[in-house]
Amino acid sequence: MKKLIFLSLLALFAAGCAGGGNTESNNSTDKSAESQEQAPSTDTYDPNRGEGKFTDVKVGDKLDPAMAQRGEKLADLKCISCHKLTDEKLVGPGWAGVTKRHKPEWIMNFMTNTDVMIDKDPKVQAMLEICMVRMPNQNLSDDDARDILEFLRKNDGVK
């Protein structure tokens, strides 16, 4: 993320002082175009990890029931309007099997860095074409996201 800030600033600064002949409005169009070009391309994107603050999430062989219970409560409030616990699609895809399809860090990055992942992750983009609704960022804390992950593991049969 820090890299992005730096790049954006750099791009804007460069655009702001260059292009003497351009009108102001043209400058500003250039700015956003330029910064998008300079944003990391999908080449550097790790589709297994996703993008976000989680790089390596340790999960136990056994379920942490307390965490899973907290996760379920949170999911009831913020998630299950759109996700069923089976594999049936509601607004978003059903949750069954999600922890087998994705690594823990991918799931937690998607939950907390939603918009960036929707824009970059090939699997998410494919799903967006089916669901047609961008998954909302539900403002989960890191602990919230971890608790929900534990509930997803429970849903996938971890005991």
């Binding site: 993320m1 992005l4 800030i5 954006s8 600033l9 804007l12 600064f13 702001g16 002082c17 003497g20 002949g21 351009n22 009108t23 102001e24 409005s25 400058n27 500003s28 169009t29 700015k31 956003s32 910064s35 944003a39 009831d76 409030l77 913020k78 299950i80 309007s81 759109c82 069923k84 509601l90 607004v91 918009d115 960036v116 929707i118 824009d119 047609m132 609704v133 961008r134 909302p136 960022n137 539900q138 403002n139």
Partner: protein, 664 residues
């Protein structure tokens, strides 16, 4: 992506600065020989440099503009219903408009003051007055919502308000229309004005932590018109100054009868001493009846409480509290410079501007340099209080603000101009025409100890030919001037909401850094909140039907409801389960005589609906929320009175709650 966009925004103001100072614009603006376009152009996606809060006058609301672009950012509903936001229509906000006269749907909002700490804007609250049915509102600048409204008893025409002391200890109210006091028999001949009509000035304390207002005391004064006011600052911080006119005590044809005397007054109030007296238990408690409305952020609900008593200080019993300073010809604006030493009175019919000196006023009081008394209040000798006069500044001076560099800027209504003059030597430095007839003006921090200078906005009462015609009714206007140089430069015209009176401007950073994005669901304490879709339900209590409904992109739960009967009152309590910035949902039901709802993320809001005909009523989301927004809809079935259709509700085939009902 949103985060990136946000970063672009956040760096906007910073980059603008670099842009202006580091590399001179080489665009079309230069070619025309004027850089006005460049100075007011804020590129797409960039933020303005300042917030401009503008009173809405007869609209009853407050509008928020970005400066220098003049873009309208928001209209904050305050004293009038606002169907767009459900303000005064939703069950939660109706109590905010309650008064001792009942619910009032349309107010008259005149002046604004931003809260201050040590005489500088602190960005916490914005105060707004209501002139017609005297009230003061406090707007929370985290949410840009009106969070408290207090009614002011014993008065009418709350005009010299809501100005604050320099640590926001008090916000003041005053009577432009003197009247018999509420605790007296008001059934008196109008011609008995001199005997029965009185004025009051109220000091409303503001709790330093949560801002809660309370009428600390009212001062009983002779019947006349109290017009505008400002607090002292620095050396004069314990004092408040109010302009007064109609010292003739006329009650009819005031334009003639209240303009007879050469001089009216500025009332100097030693509020610190008054507060001490009240603390000592002095003053008398009188019966009163006034509404105090507060909006709770945790329950998202307003409550209106009637209060029954105020403390009144009759100034005739306390000879060292108030003094009258003669001021030429019906003074209007009453403005104190950043040092706190100079008090500018603008006699709206005078051909000069008197500037009073706080230290001379103190000497005159100490030496009792009086010129008689008025209504039992000592009147200081004009010359003993006067620092000097600005000679021949223009016609019809109204209001003055300051730039912090020793200059004052005064609007002239009759000669339609702004005049810049030096406070020390009282010499006129510059004058620029406005289009047309300005009332108030504002400079960022221009009434505080620390003006930001740079810009000035004049608020014009007459627009005539400045914008494309829109029939007989025209928008009023604001005009932005650059005041960074010796001469003022007109940069921009922009139309305003209602009639702009006073306004405030503040560097954006002070406010934007605290701006709230969502209401947290886990902090939602609304009594009818639905915490998650599983808890959505419909219950009946007699003829009241409560719908516990959730909204999430892109459906309501439940979205099929049956069992409502004629004679029922249906309450839709809609909780928006979204927790992302800028994802409100709307809610409307066909034939509702109220309004619609607009529900912010994490908020619960209630619409009351009393169906009058049997049939099927669609409900839907009224705020485009997602690609499937057009699918965000449902139905309510309304049956005849006495029908046997039971209450039931469902959402798709997934609603377990509905399944349970069906099993029963």
């Amino acid at each position: 992506m949103k985060k990136i966009i946000y970063l672009f925004f956040a760096s906007g103001a910073f980059l603008m600065l670099i842009h202006l100072s580091g590399c001179k614009p080489k665009n079309a603006g230069d070619a025309t020989g004027s850089d006005a376009a460049g100075r007011t152009y804020v590129p797409p996606g960039k933020y303005d440099e300042l917030y401009n809060f503008v009173s809405g006058g007869f609209s009853g609301q407050v509008s928020v503009y970005g400066i220098p672009s003049g873009r309208l950012l928001r209209v904050i509903p305050v004293f009038s219903q606002d169907a767009e936001k459900g303000w005064g229509y939703s069950e939660e906000t109706k109590p905010m408009l309650n008064t001792s006269h009942g619910e009032i749907p349309w107010g008259d909002q005149h002046h604004l003051d931003l809260s201050q700490t040590n005489g500088e804007i602190d960005g916490r609250w914005l105060f707004a007055n209501e002139n017609n049915t005297p009230r003061i509102a406090r707007i929370d600048l985290k949410t840009f919502r009106t969070t408290e409204i207090i009614e002011i008893p014993n008065g009418a025409g709350n005009h010299s308000s809501p100005f604050i002391t320099e640590n926001t200890e008090y916000v003041v109210a005053g009577t432009r229309f003197s009247v018999p006091m509420d605790y007296e028999n008001g059934d008196v001949p109008i011609s008995s004005y001199k005997k029965n009509f009185k004025g009051t000035i109220s000091f409303i304390s503001v709790a330093p932590t949560n801002g809660e207002m309370k009428i600390a005391f009212q001062m009983l004064l002779p019947g006349m018109n109290f017009d505008l006011s400002h607090s002292g600052k620095g050396p004069s911080s314990g004092w408040f100054f109010f302009s007064c006119y109609n010292s003739e005590q006329a009650h009819t044809l005031l334009e003639v009868n209240a303009s007879k005397r050469d001089k009216d007054y500025i009332l100097a109030v030693n509020w610190k001493k008054a507060a001490e007296y009240v603390k000592q238990g002095k003053g008398k408690k009188v019966k009163a009846n006034f509404a105090h409305n507060t909006y709770s952020e945790s329950t998202h609900t307003a409550t209106s409480k009637m209060e029954s008593e105020v403390t009144l200080i009759d100034v005739r019993d306390f000879p060292d509290l108030v003094y009258m300073i003669p001021c030429p010809k019906s003074p209007h604006g009453c403005d104190v410079d950043p040092t706190g030493e100079y008090i500018v009175g603008s006699g709206k019919l005078a051909a000069l501007i008197p500037v009073f000196s706080f230290s001379k006023i103190q000497n005159a009081i100490a030496n009792k340099t009086y010129d008689g008394s008025y209504g039992g209040i000592p009147v200081l000798k004009y010359e003993a209080a006067l620092y000097g006069e600005v000679k021949k500044p223009g016609l019809g001076p109204l209001h003055t603000e300051f730039d912090g560099k020793g200059n004052a800027y005064t609007t002239f209504f009759i000669s339609s101009e702004i005049v810049k003059w030096n406070v020390k030597d009282l010499k006129v430095l510059d004058r620029q025409p406005t289009y047309y007839s300005p009332g108030h003006l504002t400079i960022p921090g221009g009434d505080t100890r620390k003006p930001y200078g740079k810009y000035l906005v004049a608020y014009n009462k007459i627009t005539k030919d400045r914008f494309l015609p829109t029939g007989p009714e025209l928008a009023q206007s604001a005009q932005l001037f650059d005041i960074s140089g010796d001469k003022m430069k007109l940069l921009l015209d922009y139309p305003t909401i209602g009639e702009p009176h006073y306004a405030q401007m503040v560097p954006a950073e002070l406010i934007s850094k605290n701006s709230q994005k969502i209401f947290r669901l886990d902090e939602n304490k609304h009594p009818y909140v639905t915490m998650g879709e599983k808890n959505s339900k419909v219950t009946r209590e007699g003829n009241k039907v409560h719908v516990y409904m959730t909204a999430m992109r892109s459906h309501f739960s439940p979205d099929n409801i049956e069992g409502v009967k004629l004679g029922d009152e249906v309450y839709f309590h809609v909780t928006n389960l979204e927790q992302d910035w800028d994802v409100p949902h709307g809610f409307g039901v066909k034939g509702n005589k109220n309004a619609e709802l607009l529900i912010m993320p994490g908020e619960t809001t209630t619409l009351k609906w009393v169906p009058e005909k049997v049939g099927i009523y669609p409900i839907y989301c009224t705020d485009f929320c997602s690609a499937l927004h057009q699918e965000m809809q449902g139905y309510v079935r309304v049956s005849a009175k006495g029908s046997k259709v039971p209450i039931s509700f469902s959402l798709g085939k997934n609603s377990e709650a509905a399944d349970e009902i069906l099993k029963k």
